[in-house]
Symmetry: C2
Subunit: 215 residues, 2 copies
């Protein structure tokens, strides 16, 4: 069982799914992808079949080594520990802490507030709500990056923080957030998007990407 190919349950547009796709690509782990459409049929993540697999009824979920994991950063930490090369956490403990701080700022402080399930309840205030969440999160992030960034979020090595940054910027663009106040975020995002692992994991290139959104 443990040697079978991992299966990633994901949705092309889910930013948390994209984080995990980047990690799998960077680490050269081949996997099968099972699309879970968060819109169709009232949300396929709510089906009894998927709930049995992941009680959190969210993507991503990863079946690997005989277990099923959910929560993108927990999955990425597991991949980091079981496939340490290339590393996604710096060797220095203080830098590692900065990486985790940035990753958690996005994963706990920004993304959950502009998640599909929250926006559904916002009705016509949806767009404004999402913009406010992302804007206030990006103001803090821009300041933090001015202290930590090199070519990427923390120094010059790609880290877990970068895996969170790029999908969050894509969400900001979808919600038409004005990115001009965030030159550091913008610069790092652009540098990361040039990397192959970020390209092949992009929402525009997934098996479930609708034809009209394909790159």
């Amino acid at each position: 069982m443990a040697s079978e190919k991992p299966i990633l349950y994901s949705y092309f547009r889910s930013s948390c799914s994209w984080r995990v796709r980047i990690a799998l690509a960077l680490k050269g782990i081949s996997y099968d992808q099972v699309p879970v459409n968060l819109i169709k049929d009232g949300g396929q993540q709510f089906s009894a079949e998927f709930k049995a697999l992941n009680p959190m009824q969210q993507v991503p979920a990863l079946q690997i080594d005989g277990i099923t994991l959910s929560q993108s950063l927990a999955i990425i930490n597991y991949l980091e520990e079981t496939h340490p090369n290339p590393r996604l956490l710096p060797q220095d403990a203080k830098k590692r802490a900065q990486v985790r701080m940035i990753a958690d700022h996005i994963a706990s402080g920004i993304q959950p507030l502009q998640n599909l399930s929250v926006l559904k309840q916002m009705g016509e205030k949806k767009m404004e709500w999402a913009q406010n969440c992302i804007t206030s999160g990006f103001q803090a992030l821009e300041q933090i990056l001015q202290h930590t960034a090199g070519r990427y979020c923390v120094g010059d090595e790609v880290s877990m923080a970068d895996l969170c940054l790029v999908p969050q910027v894509a969400n900001a663009e979808r919600f038409k957030v004005d990115m001009r106040p965030y030159p550091t975020i913008t610069r790092i995002n652009k540098a990361l998007l040039e990397l192959e692992a970020f390209k092949i994991s992009h929402p525009s290139r997934q098996p479930d990407t609708p034809l009209e959104l394909r790159a």
Copy 2:
């Protein structure tokens, strides 16, 4: 600098601050506490002075070893790496992944949605909103714990997951969530609250706890 006593900026009632206080207590790290009142003066976390310290304008923040960290789980991971005893992550990689999955489910999937800053915008729907977020998160958590729990969230050792569980249950109680459907959560919470580290870090026993709420 690095040998100075750590300073924790926290608020007695903040569930994320409590997580860090438990970690500090379990690991026997002595620290000074600076209260940041999230209500008074329109929120002291928004002051220019605090913003310079933590651009995220949130508690907790920990000054330690010459750096300032924020985001509770990033702080706890740093403490785990620099003060490994007693450990808060199991030795087995799969169990570690389960611990992180549960911690992230609470830290990214439940707490941010019932955070003070979100509730402020909900007006009179505040209570109902918080209850719905916690209820749907706890339904998933109860199911997950049925697979992972021993005496505590994952097996019989206290872990990062437990540091997230207890403060989240306290929030649930504040928002009058009916806990009867969650016997496993309730049982583990009770067992944890018997431990000294959870007692001394409790919101009812902090320097900034108002007199009428003191234990």
